[in-house]
């Protein structure tokens, strides 16, 4: 049976997330998971099962995530994972889209007085193993002909600990991850992100190869969130909007017109549920990682295409 049927039969969505990266996915004191990636999981759960709480979050490390997905332990992975050729083609996964356009950055303590990554000759660098950043790092230092000492680490939390204790001079990972990590420091201002972004890191949710139906569900749930922002549908106004508007695309999206839900094998109000779960793309962003949160990421590349960003959803038609 397809994953969609499995999920429906189980009544729960198994969603792989990080072991803890504030703003993207982290459990709070009550064990409730929250964050940008978590929002995607909840949206999918809401779309499929009608209940944003019907998610089982499976924390994965950089190393364990792909096995978890391949072995069927999780139905989808929403764990700031970079879309790369080999992951898509060789590891046999399907990336359904991009929810955050990112790049790899460096964080150093201000007191070191470093202003460029090129000055890092001889530095000790904390790096999460099993990630693209590990490979980028090797390439970057090699091509710039400078030496470094990698300290391979399993999780973000440990990396943070070692970095703060001074066991490494630099911490490198996705810039978004760096910002999120820095936000939890006692004194965030004592650390700076270096200007170099050494790679492209399009992060997005992914599913196993070969179950196109399920891939479509996740892909279009993500697109629904993006389109909702573009069309101005938010969790605040969705109630009245879903009663019917004179924008046919909104109507198709929210199920008051056409049968997009049925085509996916979902209920008619799937997208409405997804959006209500934790808001549209923009809301998700602002609530979890936006400029008004401690993490304070600007929309930048992740603005809607209409605002000069790269966030762009195919039309609902």
């Amino acid at each position: 049976a397809g994953t969609l049927d499995d999920v429906k039969a189980r009544g729960k969505l198994n969603c792989g997330v990080t072991t803890g990266l504030v703003g993207f996915a982290a459990p709070d004191a009550n064990g409730e998971w929250g964050g940008f990636d978590v929002g995607v999981c909840r949206a999918v759960a809401a779309a499929v099962l009608g209940d944003p709480k019907a998610v089982e979050f499976v924390p994965t490390t950089g190393k364990t995530r792909f096995t978890a997905l391949a072995s069927g332990e999780i139905d989808m992975l929403a764990r700031n994972t970079t879309w790369t050729f080999s992951r898509d083609v060789d590891l046999k996964f399907t990336f359904v889209g991009v929810n955050y356009y990112d790049g790899q950055g460096f964080m150093v303590p201000k007191e070191l007085g470093v202003s460029s990554a090129k000055e890092l000759d001889g530095a000790t660098v904390c790096i999460q193993t099993g990630t693209t950043t590990e490979l980028n790092l090797a390439d970057f230092f090699r091509s710039n002909n400078i030496s470094y000492e990698p300290v391979p680490i399993e999780t973000n939390a440990e990396a943070q600990q070692q970095y703060l204790a001074g066991a490494c001079d630099v911490y490198t990972t996705d810039a978004s991850g760096l910002a999120a990590t820095r936000a939890t420091f006692e004194d965030p201002s004592a650390h700076v992100l270096l200007p170099e972004i050494i790679s492209k890191e399009p992060l997005g949710p992914l599913v196993r190869h070969g179950d196109d139906n399920w891939g479509d569900v996740v892909r279009w749930t993500l697109n629904a969130l993006i389109t909702a922002e573009e069309l101005g549908v938010s969790s605040a106004n969705i109630g009245e909007m879903s009663a019917g508007t004179n924008n046919p695309e909104v109507n198709r999206l929210l199920g008051s017109e056409g049968n997009l839900g049925e085509m996916l094998g979902l209920s008619a109000d799937w997208a409405k549920n997804a959006i209500m779960a934790s808001g549209n793309y923009g809301e998700l962003f602002e609530k979890n990682i936006g400029e008004n949160t401690p993490i304070g990421l600007a929309r930048g590349l992740n603005a809607q295409w209409t605002d000069g960003g790269l966030i762009y959803s195919p039309p609902f038609r």
């Binding site: 190393k63 046999k92 890092l120 099993g130 090797a138 390439d139 090699r142 300290v151 001074g166 490494c168």
Partner: protein, 422 residues
């Protein structure tokens, strides 16, 4: 004697396969073999089907691809452009390094603790008991992460050494720096180095043999050989005259004079670690991941070895000591001539199986980011290439090879020292 007739040949009936003791064992074995083959075939078939659906047929080609990642701890040359095979090889060597270091330390600590546990001093014996119980009853993984945490959290970072009035200073005449990234100790350097020979060309298993090191080894072995000659001559003199000539000064001279001469010729000097840029440079850097692993493994294993040593000594009955005492042997000689030779027979086999355990436990290196073979082949390589089956099988193969060699040594030893009994 009468001529012997063969037992009457009963005609073969099918039921004999089950009820006849001669055929029964054949039947059982055949069934077992069949069952095993079926199981194996079933597993293999499943695996092949599954791999086919996944589109990942078994293929070792990835081993020849560039690894693309760096390894911090490496005894041989390696860079991120080297192959996965090379990375695995580096990992294997790292495994062996920590295993050998661990075994040596564990033995020293274990023997010491084991003997001290038998100390007449109540307090010392108790402290040792607490040590042994503490380490034996807490998982080794916990000790490893704990050791790492202690190193990271309680030692100063290199930046603490900076500035005019640093918080931390180097130890031992400014030659050793203890930081939370590891310990930097002076390294031996040779100004008239003999260079090194390069083995295995460009292949992934290539390695360099330092001629300086070889020269030192040769001289060392020659000296040891000479010392043994002197000792055996002393033994000979003792046998004929009864008095053993003092040989320690000769031995000392034989051990040290040629070595010092050689070092002088090679231009031996120490390279001291020095704070430069972000880190100390120069000197030998023992990373904290290695230290944590080494410490935790050896202290953990030492607790077991201590018990073995204690048991071994206790197993030698009190009567042996008394008999030796009654013959006028002093405690030192009693230990050396009577107790130890007997205790060793009891001690060494379980000791070796503890070495084996230590080696296997070294695979927990992965918890502190030490790049042993589990970290390279079974870690990053596996993760970046997605070749789980191949990697895990190779990984198991490596450990199996190590284990089997160690148990071969053990069997050989056991056969050699078996007590002659009636």
């Amino acid at each position: 004697m009468t001529t012997l007739t063969d037992p009457p040949k009963a005609s073969f009936r099918l039921s004999m396969l089950i009820y006849d003791t001669r055929y029964r064992s054949l039947t059982i074995q055949a069934v077992a073999m069949l069952g095993f083959m079926l199981l194996a075939a079933w597993l293999l078939n499943n695996t092949l089907t599954n791999l086919a659906t996944l589109g990942k047929p078994i293929d070792l080609g990835f081993l020849g691809e560039p690894a693309s990642y760096d390894i911090n701890q490496r005894l041989l040359d390696y860079n991120s452009r080297d192959t996965h095979l090379r990375a695995s090889f580096i990992g294997l060597i790292n495994t062996l390094v920590v295993a050998v270091l661990g075994c040596i330390t564990a033995t020293i600590v274990g023997v010491l603790v084991g003997v001290l546990r038998l100390s007449k001093n109540w307090l010392v014996a108790r402290i040792m008991t607490v040590y042994v119980e503490m380490f034996r009853n807490v998982p080794v993984l916990l000790w490893i992460v704990l050791a790492m945490a202690i190193l990271i959290e309680s030692l100063p970072a290199p930046r603490a050494f900076r500035g005019d009035n640093p918080e931390a200073t180097m130890k031992v005449f400014d030659s050793v720096a203890i930081t939370n990234r590891g310990v930097y100790v002076p390294e031996p350097l040779f100004s008239n180095s003999l260079g090194s020979i390069h083995l295995f060309g460009d292949s992934s298993l290539r390695f360099d043999v330092s001629l300086d090191l070889m020269a030192i080894l040769v001289v060392l072995i020659a000296s040891i050989f000479a010392v043994r000659k002197v000792t055996s001559r002393a033994a000979h003199i003792q046998e004929t005259t009864g008095v053993r000539p003092k040989t320690w000064h000769v031995n000392l001279a034989i051990l040290f004079v040629p070595m010092i001469a050689l070092l002088a010729v090679l231009g031996f000097h120490l390279g001291y670690p020095e704070l430069k840029g972000f880190n100390f440079t120069g000197g030998t850097h023992m990373r904290n991941s290695l230290i944590a692993l080494w410490l935790a493994l050896s202290l953990y294993t030492a607790a077991f070895i201590a018990e073995i040593v204690r048991g071994g000594i206790l197993a030698i009955s009190h009567g042996q000591t008394e008999a030796a005492n009654a013959l006028g042997l002093r405690p030192g000689k009693t230990m050396r001539l009577v107790i130890l030779p007997q205790a060793l027979r009891v001690i060494i086999p379980p000791m070796i199986s503890n070495y084996l355990n230590l080696t296997k436990n070294s695979s927990l290196a992965i918890a502190v980011g030490y790049m042993d073979i589990t970290g390279t082949l079974g870690g990053i390589t596996m993760n970046q290439t997605g070749r789980e089956l191949e990697c895990v099988l190779m990984l198991m193969g490596c450990y199996l090879l190590i284990s089997l060699s160690i148990s071969m040594v053990m069997n050989w030893y056991n056969a050699r020292v078996a007590l002659v009994e009636r």
